[in-house]
Amino acid sequence: MGRKRSAGDVPELAAGNGILDRRALLAAGASLAGAGAIAARPALGAGELSMEPWMTEPGAPFVGYGQPSRFEAKVVRTFASAPGTTGTGASRTPLQRLNGTITPNGLHFERHHSGIPDIDPDAHRLLIHGLVKRPLVFTLEALARYPMETRIAFVECGGNTGALYQKEPAQLDLQASHGLLSCAEWTGVRLALLLEEAGVEPQAQWLLAEGADAAGMSRSVPMKAVDEALVALYQNGERVRPSNGYPLRLLLPGDEGNMNVKWLRRIKVTAGPTMTKDETSKYTILLPSGKSLQFVFPLEAKSVITNPSPGLTLNGAGLYEISGLAWSGYGKISRVDVSADGGKSWAPAALQEPVLPKALTRFRMPWRWDGGPAVLQSRATDASGYVQPTRAALIAERGTKTFYHFNGIASWAIGEHGEVRHVYA
């Protein structure tokens, strides 16, 4: 762990059970550098510094499209497909093995309803019709000539963390519990511009967005969501991956992932919602009364500690950096508090700049683990003033008959050997 500090130099405790002031790691500078690593440290021993073999011969040749180090083979999506299918289900982002806020394109989570279509961009068309003055057809070549906008936005499945509604805490690693969440830099054409060219009729209140996959995945989108909507052609600088909607997808920052229709082929401007399968039989929140909340679009403020998290292990008592992600479909994250005593006491974490609306925000908090019992939690507040609820509060309001839009606080218990377990606290 960090270099021993003189007695008068100990960081102030900011909250119970070893939570330090969020500035402690920054202020301490070099003296604590490297102290936060949770991966097991190789034992330092005499003779460890030998001549590295990779310095004794020329390295590998160029490749056209780079891949991660072969030593990072564990950093992959995990996935499951519906019975009798191979590409219908979800793959999950390994959040516990990533840092920063941007999800590499090959690790962006996926949710497909009938596999990934192999779309020839020259043969793909976008049709805009319905309540418009001029129904229009766009080629990719045409769209590529439109003025573009770039923004960073998270996409989260409305069913992400659905397992936390279960009566007993599911023993899942972070990827399995929270991995239907990713964040990328998206570039594309403002949907509003294309609709303006088509000439939207005054009675238009909704649109239907439809994908060109074999499920023809379709969702109704309220017209007010168009303000921020992009028809995205690029994902982290390169063309959108097939698994994320190549050659173009709808991006509705902050709204549940299912609405961000991939492989976008058609926008139909309508007076009311179309009541598609996914906005009626799925993605509605069944309450204990038997009624279901429908059209719950933006995802409420949420956060999770990614490191440490279930599946990772702490390597002995000492100083750690607790790190995690916070996000809100209603705007910017304004504050994240962290607790090491199961929510009895809290202190504000440092937020990594830039903090962007409807994007993942990385938070960090120094913590001195004394080797004893600890329950780590994070609690996000967004710019609207909304505070992420405890699981108990969320369930008191919503019950456990649904699977969607769980945004309660997750609790990670640290065992005596540094193992991390999911608990309800």
């Binding site: 019975p83 057809v137 399968k277 204990p288 429908q294 059209f295 909304y386």
Partner: protein, 175 residues
């Protein structure tokens, strides 16, 4: 530039007028009604978009047995994939909800829309409109929503009252 003066004046005027309108690329081409009819496969909850054709529960059973049963089970009972029939009365209280077409789906038009666009899973868009009407009729009849003798078509399907039609509350954020 050797442009005659009157052309120069016209060009300047054209530039000014388009600039004032905030020029957009306008690179879409007009879609024809035939193209739109070919591509517009969505059905509104009022039945808008339902095509000609018809089908009965009995005809639907034949289609279902051949093309749906392997995934959705005998009489829509589920296994290995989604259960389509039953579950009435399971939405309230502490019991595990069984959300099927009969117990949960608010509109029968959604059933036609979804079957036509996405089913059968291995060959979507392969059923005729008559076959889609028939399969819808069979599933609705198994759920006790229509009678064995009912014929489903663009008029009758849109009028089917689903048991959970009033089970949805539009969400509005309290904060």
């Amino acid at each position: 530039m050797s442009m005659p003066r009157h052309l120069r004046a016209a060009a300047a005027l054209l530039f000014l007028s388009t600039a004032a309108l905030a020029e957009t690329p306008d690179l879409g081409r007009p879609a024809t009604p035939e193209e739109i009819a070919l591509w517009d496969i969505s059905i509104g909850p009022d039945g808008a978009g339902l095509p000609p054709g018809n089908g009965t529960p009995q005809q639907g059973e034949t289609v279902y047995t051949a093309k749906c049963l392997a995934c959705h089970g005998e009489k829509g009972s589920g296994k290995p994939n989604d259960q389509l029939v039953g579950g009435l009365g399971t939405l309230t209280g502490d019991q595990t909800p069984v959300k099927t077409v009969g117990s949960f789906w608010p509109y029968a038009t959604t059933l036609f829309d979804y079957v036509r666009r996405a089913m059968p899973f291995n060959a979507p868009r392969s059923l005729s409109n008559d076959e889609v009407y028939a399969v819808c009729a069979y599933i609705l009849q198994l759920n006790g929503i229509i009678s064995e003798n009912a014929v489903m078509n663009a008029q009758t399907l849109a009028k089917v009252q689903m048991p959970n039609r009033d089970g949805f509350l539009p969400f509005s954020r309290q904060k």
